[in-house]
């Protein structure tokens, strides 16, 4: 499937059965990212197919305080 990783909009082709597997394949923590398909946020158990087009949104921000 086609995966766009924000904010840089880096595009990758990844094979993964579920959203949880996708994050694992990308080496990303589940609590630090959201996976979005269209306008829907997906839970980690959602099954994905080769024709899916999803975005990975980082949620961590940091700095001083």
């Amino acid at each position: 499937m086609r995966v766009t990783i924000l904010p840089a909009r880096e595009v990758k082709e990844v094979d993964a059965r579920t959203v949880g597997d996708l994050l694992k394949a990308l080496g990303l923590h589940r609590d630090a990212h959201l996976v979005v398909r269209g306008e829907d946020i997906l839970t980690t158990d959602v099954r994905l197919t080769a024709s899916d087009d999803v975005e990975v949104w980082p949620v961590i921000s940091g700095g001083g305080d």
Binding site: H29, A32, D40, I41, S61, G62, G63, G64
Partner: protein
């Protein structure tokens, strides 16, 4: 996964409580969590005007949005930090949010009003201005709130921010800071307003989900000056732990606030006893000049040197104090 409330397909999973919510039910759950914390910690009353510290990011805009949805009187405040395009974009997001909802957004411009920017405050050891940037924000949010008569400043600090701060303070055994860390910092001086963190038990992921579902247009990119910041390393460590032990961050922070904080010795630190007014700006401090005014002098010196290097006319600020 099904929504805990309506059984429709879920969109947001809350692993620590083994629940999930659909996009329709989630915002209501989120707002209830915030309301519960405001009430439980007695953060502010409905008749009090709240000043929300706004950065253009998901946390502060989600907080502002939530407070308005809950019926509170909340105005915003944005500080133009002068971090290049990042600051321009975050300012635009903050202004667009205020305009869209017909809200008041107060602004301070560091360069125009005070003669320096955050990049002028780079720490020579760490190469980062993050700690100084924190001082800048605390100073101006407090000063504007005190000047304009707001009794309380609300910030978007979330569970991840607070757990990372706690871990950092434990790693360095900053007992003074540990003793003071919490969701409410009461006013201890007429010029110090109460500080509250209504999102402190909601994770960054949950706040981002609220912002996305509520169609809040926030700045997604990271502050370019925060790359390599210690707080990000602590968050990464905590998220690795969370991966194996869902709820670990929550237990770490909430356990500390319930059990650990009272047991921490504050080393005799008593903020209220030693406070007097800064000789220059009048804000509460324990020294002759407050930490902000000393830091601002350093920033202005660097700004003057930088302006001279590039042949620019320096912006006039207060007379510089001799370096200490």
């Amino acid at each position: 996964m099904r929504c805990h409330r309506c059984r429709k397909p879920a969109n947001v999973e809350i692993r620590r409580s083994r629940t999930a919510y659909c996009a329709g039910c989630y915002p209501d759950w989120f707002r209830q969590q915030v309301q519960d914390r405001i009430d439980h910690e007695r953060m502010f009353r409905r008749d009090e005007r709240v000043l929300v510290a706004v950065s253009g990011g998901k946390d502060s805009l989600a907080l502002w949005h939530t407070l308005l949805q809950l019926g509170y009187q909340a105005d915003g405040m944005y500080i133009r930090l002068g971090i290049g395009d990042y600051s321009r974009r975050s300012q635009a997001k903050s202004e667009a949010f205020a305009e869209r909802h017909g809200l008041t957004l107060h602004q301070v411009d560091l360069k125009d009003d005070h003669g320096f920017t955050v990049p002028d405050l780079l720490d020579t050891r760490s190469g980062k201005p993050c700690a100084a940037c924190g001082t800048v924000k605390r100073y101006h949010f407090n000063k504007v709130a005190a000047d304009l008569g707001y009794p309380v400043v609300a910030t978007g600090h979330n569970l991840d921010d607070e757990a990372a701060t706690l871990l950092g303070n434990v790693v360095h055994w900053n007992t003074d800071y540990l003793g003071r860390q919490g969701p409410v910092l009461e006013s201890t001086h007429p010029r110090l307003v109460r500080k509250v963190k209504p999102l402190y038990r909601l994770s960054e992921r949950e706040t981002a989900a609220y912002a996305i579902i509520s169609r809040i247009d926030y700045i997604l990119e990271e502050c370019p000056m925060a790359k390599g910041a210690k707080s990000l390393a602590y968050k990464d460590l905590l998220n690795a732990l969370e991966e194996e032990q869902p709820g670990a961050k929550h237990r770490f922070l909430v356990g500390f606030l319930k059990e650990g904080r009272a047991a921490v010795r504050t080393g005799g630190f008593d903020q209220a006893a030693d406070l007097h007014e800064c000789a220059r700006c009048g804000q509460p401090t324990t020294g002759d000049l407050c930490a902000y005014c000393r830091m601002a002098d350093r920033g202005r010196r660097k700004a003057v040197l930088k302006d001279a290097k590039y042949g620019r006319q320096p912006i006039a600020g207060p007379e510089l104090q001799a370096d200490r």
